[in-house]
């Protein structure tokens, strides 16, 4: 049971987003793009975005990598250490689906699988947005954060089409 008013906290986070960079075994190309997005060139501080060094301080995790078996317990601990509301931006093809490592013996295959592990361990995540790309572009990372906060509208929507006999 959480002691927090999630709606109020999410409103407050819109103006102040502290991000924590969590690499679960990526090739580092996505991580370099994250660093790029946080440089003065993109000036993300104008949106209230700030990099922090501890998951305890974080509102949002910038998540990369296909989740290697070695990193799994540390990843779960880091996400559990975040105070709620917990927001996660899953970055890169590896993070989204496991990428080219989706069925290798040493990874669990991306965030979807990690979500199941988190649920089993009682770690609740309040919002998730997926940003694919190999590697993901810095502009896409910033757009993803703004999408997650509800500052911009999602452009692409999932549409299910059922083919009829005729």
């Amino acid at each position: 049971m959480s002691s927090v008013n999630l709606a109020r906290a999410l409103r407050a986070i819109k103006r102040s987003v502290w991000v924590y960079h969590l690499n679960s075994g990526s090739c580092n190309a996505c991580d370099i793009e994250i660093l790029d997005a946080l440089t003065p060139y993109f000036d993300v501080e104008r949106f209230g975005i700030k990099l922090v060094g501890s998951p305890r301080h974080a509102d949002l995790i910038l998540f990369t990598g296909p989740v290697t078996r070695e990193s799994l317990p540390k990843v779960v601990r880091a996400i559990r250490a975040m105070p709620r509301p917990r927001l996660i931006l899953v970055l890169g093809s590896c993070g989204v689906s496991g990428g080219i490592w989706w069925d290798t013996y040493s990874t669990i295959g991306g965030f979807k699988k990690l979500e199941e592990v988190l649920r089993e361990n009682g770690v609740e995540v309040d919002r998730v947005v997926y940003v694919p790309g190999c590697p993901v572009r810095p502009e896409a990372i910033i757009y993803g954060i703004l999408l997650l906060l509800g500052v911009v509208e999602q452009k692409v929507k999932k549409v299910e089409v059922v083919a009829s006999e005729s």
């Binding site: 959480s2 002691s3 927090v4 008013n5 109020r8 906290a9 409103r11 407050a12 986070i13 103006r15 102040s16 502290w18 003065p40 000036d43 501080e45 104008r46 209230g48 700030k50 990099l51 922090v52 060094g53 501890s54 305890r56 301080h57 509102d59 975040m82 105070p83 709620r84 509301p85």
Partner: protein, 284 residues
């Protein structure tokens, strides 16, 4: 009492606004747009709306963080009393209590950091301690000498210089931000704090900057004969200007090696304080 509470409230409201101004000025130096001036307030409001996570160590830890903030608020109010007395003997008692309170606030920060099981927190605690022993004794000596009538021009100038340097150090800016360094060092006295507790710690951080700017204003106005409202007005006017000057210095200076920064500071302050004691003894 009511007057002191009003002063405390004004300082608590203003300090995060000045911090926002600092971030805006730093962004301008980087040729960025930067965050809004109220960004630090947005951060604090956000932190207070987040989940309360009591650190491993128990709720006493939370109490220490709150106590530390209240000690700094009291110290800051006392400094206003020193300022309105025009930095003379009448304010000797307030100045002495101010020095004791800033020492207590730093000790509380060190205690809550080193009592954590997180090694990075312990590391931050030791760094805070090394800064404390290299700056606060000099801050105390120079402030007390200025107040108790170091009238000779050389003594006064050296005491004011020591106070300006020591005040910059307690503001926790580069290269003396080693205790609670920015993300790349991943360590610090606040590393285990989250949500509202981190909000309280953030208020303590900006209050320290406020105290630092007020102390520098006191050192700079030690030549004037202003007292009462005029002296307070001068300090109130100078505080944001000095805050911005500190920002410019902090942005232009690079971060040096942790041990080098402290050793350089200790050597400089030790030499200056020795000169101060000699000139005070000789009455020049």
């Amino acid at each position: 009492m009511l007057h002191s509470l009003a002063v405390a409230a004004i300082q608590l409201v203003l300090a995060p606004v000045y911090d926002g101004l600092e971030r805006k000025v730093r962004a301008a130096i980087h040729t960025r747009i930067g965050p809004p001036v109220l960004q630090t307030w947005y951060d604090i409001v956000k932190l207070f709306s987040k989940e309360v996570v009591v650190p491993v160590g128990g709720s006493w830890y939370a109490l220490v963080a709150v106590l530390e903030m209240l000690t700094l608020v009291t110290a800051s109010v006392l400094l206003v009393h020193v300022s309105s007395a025009g930095l003379n003997r009448a304010a000797l008692f307030e100045a002495s209590v101010f020095i004791v309170l800033t020492g207590i606030a730093t000790t509380l920060a060190v205690v809550r950091a080193v009592s954590q099981s997180n090694v990075f927190s312990v590391l931050g605690g030791f760094r805070e301690f090394s800064l404390m022993i290299s700056a606060e004794p000099f801050l105390a000596t120079s402030l007390l000498l200025l107040i108790s009538g170091a009238e000779a021009p050389a003594s006064k100038a050296i005491a004011a210089l020591v106070l300006v340097i020591a005040a910059y150090v307690i503001s926790g800016r580069v290269p003396y931000d080693i205790a609670e360094a920015e993300p790349e060092l991943a360590s610090g006295v606040n590393i285990e704090l989250a949500g509202p507790l981190l909000g309280v710690a953030t208020l303590s951080v900006v209050l320290k900057k406020f105290i630092s700017a007020t102390l520098t204003a006191l050192a700079l106005t030690s030549w004037s004969s202003l007292v009462g409202i005029a002296s307070l007005a001068a300090a109130a006017l100078l505080t944001p200007i000095i805050w911005i000057a500190h920002t410019v210095v902090g942005t232009l200076l690079g971060r040096s090696r942790v041990d080098l920064a402290v050793r350089f500071l200790y050597t400089t302050l030790f030499i200056l304080s020795s000169m101060l004691l000699v000139s005070y003894g000789l009455g020049v």
